[in-house]
Symmetry: C2
Subunit: 107 residues, 2 copies
DNA sequence: AGTATGTATTCGGATAAGCGAATACATGAA
DNA sequence: TTCATGTATTCGCTTATCCGAATACATACT
């Protein structure tokens, strides 16, 4: 277990952020926060083709954001770490304030 | 000031995450957290061509993550909201734990 | 005006990300 | 094994992102 260098950590960090940089994937994380779901259920919930969901899940899985568990023929996906949702919520707070700042600029 | 819909908010959120999804831009944010800098100073600090820095700054500016202030011929950039750094630090915490989990899997 | 310094943008080309459609793979039941 | 269901991957294509190099734009000073 070699410690990552600062630059390597930066890269991993950027990779995680990049994984979060797609509306569908954010939707997926919030959906899994409410409850673990298998792929088809996710596809139905988000009204999105199953292959598309699978591709997004692979990205999230590779970055360690979700965790798959086999359940017979199905695969149930879990949020890997609920703290990530709190982080996303914090970001929304900052985002809202940012929007508010811009609005007040208009006045 | 019309309230954004859920989907619009998701898109804005994703856009912010996407802006964070580049190692150089993360470096920039951390550098500006230590102290506001003008473009050339940033370029020197990060050992990166000035046009590259300017392009990254535009992305961060458009997403409301940094704020420019003119100072004569120079433009000093400020971190728009220090909470974003705390959020990034939180993400690093989650990232470290994720790496630790993967390491223990190997054992 | 002209010059120097600092910042932003454009252009061209390489790389990566996204999606729909089709298909391959995995599991469980008959 | 065969079929049905569920999941993952591949293919072809379009769009977006990134960088270096060159260049345009902005400000201050003489």
């Amino acid at each position: 277990m070699t410690m990552p260098t600062i630059d390597e950590l930066n890269l991993l960090h950027a990779n995680i952020c990049q994984a979060l940089g797609d509306p569908k994937r954010i939707q997926i994380l919030y959906a899994l926060f409410e409850s673990p779901l298998h792929v088809t259920a996710l596809a139905d919930t988000l009204i999105t083709p199953q292959p598309t969901i699978s591709r997004h899940l692979r990205i999230l899985r590779q970055r360690g954001l979700v965790t798959p568990h086999r359940d017979g023929a199905a695969v149930v996906y879990y949020l890997a770490d609920e703290r990530m949702i709190h982080i996303l919520d914090s970001m929304r707070g900052v985002l809202r304030d940012s929007l508010a700042r811009q609005s007040s600029m208009m006045a």
